[in-house]
Subunit: 234 residues, 2 copies
Amino acid sequence: MIPLHIESAWQGTADCRTCGIRDMVLFADLNESDFKLIHAPIDDIAFQNGAALFGEGRQAGHVMTIRKGFVKLVRNAADGRSRIVRILKPGDVVGLEALFSPIFDADAVALSEVSVCKIPVTVIKDLSAQSPRLHMRLMERWHRAVKEADDWLATLNFGTARQRVANIILKMRHADDSTLTTLFSREDMGAMSDLKLETVSREVSRWTKEGVIEPQDKIGRLYKIKDSEKLKNA
Amino acid sequence: MIPLHIESAWQGTADCRTCGIRDMVLFADLNESDFKLIHAPIDDIAFQNGAALFGEGRQAGHVMTIRKGFVKLVRNAADGRSRIVRILKPGDVVGLEALFSPIFDADAVALSEVSVCKIPVTVIKDLSAQSPRLHMRLMERWHRAVKEADDWLATLNFGTARQRVANIILKMRHADDSTLTTLFSREDMGAMSDLKLETVSREVSRWTKEGVIEPQDKIGRLYKIKDSEKLKNA
DNA sequence: CGCGGCCTTGATCGCACTCAATTCTAGTGG
DNA sequence: CCACTAGAATTGAGTGCGATCAAGGCCGCG
C-alpha cells in the first residue's frame, strides 16, 4: 500500500516564544514564568509525505504539535485492512494519549510534507501541574478531538457513496478559500469513508461531470467547487 | 421513531463525599478542602428509558455523571435519519463539551433506567482552577471519550454486517460476567453500526442458529455467549 | 381478546464491491 | 527529446450483499 519511510529531519531546537504559529498551539498563552518550567528540549522535526510520525502500539514518550501539513490517524485491523480514524491539521496535537497510555492507539502518517514540534510528555506534565493556562488549552484540544471524531462518524460514514464523497470534498475545503478543496489519494479517501477506491473514483468523476467540481490539476487532488449547495444536500 | 419523554425525577441534593460510586467518578480524589469549593448544589436525577437527558443544540450549563444505566449519544441528520455516535456507561460523563461550547453537540437519550448527578459547569470550572487533582480526572475522561469514539469507528463500522453485529455483541458484554451480553433494540443496533434493523435481526438470528449465542429472554435482549472466539474472528 | 410495538422472515432490487483492462502522469535513463 | 516504467486514477462488466418492501409472529398490556 503506502510506503512508510522512516526518515525524519531534525531541524533544530525550537524556541516556542518566537514560534510563528504560537497563537494556534498548546503554548499559546503561557507567560515568561511558565516557559522557565520547560526543562527538556523541544525539537522541530520534518517528515516527508508517507512517513510515519509514530506507530500504533509504540512507546509514547512525547506529543507533537503540527506546524505544517496534514497527518492521518490510522487503525489497522488484524486482516490487513485499515481505517483512517481522523485527519489532523496544523495546530492540532498528535499523540495526546501519551499522557495517559504507555502506547499509542493508532498510526500517525504524514499526508504531505509535515513539520512538527516534538514535546516530551514530561514537559506537558510539569507545566500542566503548575499552569492553569495550559490546562484550558489541553482540554480544548481534547474537546476538539472528540468533536472531530464524532463528526467523522456522523458525516463521512453516513449515507450513500455519493453523499460520503460529497462530504469529504466539503470537509477538505481550504481555510482561506472555501471554493478550493484538496483531496487525498482515492485509497485514502476510501479508508476515510469506508468505500473502495474504485467507488470513490466513480463518485468524484460523477461530481466532475455534473459540473459541481472542476479539476485544477491533472492528478485529481485540487478541485474548484462550483456549487457547494449541490454537495450539501446530495 | 423513539418517543422522547421529558419527565425527570429529582431525587435530592447529592453528597458527593458519601457517593456509592465515588471511586469511579470525576470527584474520586478530591479532598475535604476541595469539597469546600463547591458552592452550587449537585442534584441527583433519574430518567426513564427513552427520556432525553438533553437535546442537541440545547443550552449547556451543566454536565452529568452517570450513576446507573446506559445513555446513547445521537447525531441527527437533516433528512431525519440518525446515528448513534457513542454509548455511555456508569462512571462516564455526559456533556463535557459544556465546558467549552455553549450548546451540546448531540442528543443524549436514556437506554434504560438512568440516574445521574447533575453538576453545574461553574462547579467544575471553580474546582478545575484550583484543584490539580480534578484536572487529571477530567483529562482522563476526555481521553476515554476519544478512544471510545475511535474504537467505535474502527470496530463497529467496519467490515460485513455479520462482523459488525458480532462486534456489538462483544462490546456489550457484561463487566461482571463476560459470557452474558445485553443488546439494544434492533433499530438502535442498526444506528450504531450503519445497518438497517432487518439486517441486524437477520445476523443476530444467524449467530443464534449457529449456536454461538443463546437467547436468555423472549424479547431478544439478553444472550449467553457460547463461543466468543467465533465472534472475534468472524 | 384485541391492539400496538417490536422482532423475524421472505422476496426482490439496486448500490457498491470485485475483477479486470485501459489511460494518464511523473519519473528515469538512454 | 523520447522511450520506457511504475504507480495511480479511471472506466467497464458482472456479482453479491445489504436495503427495501411486505407479510406474519410474538409479547406485553389494557
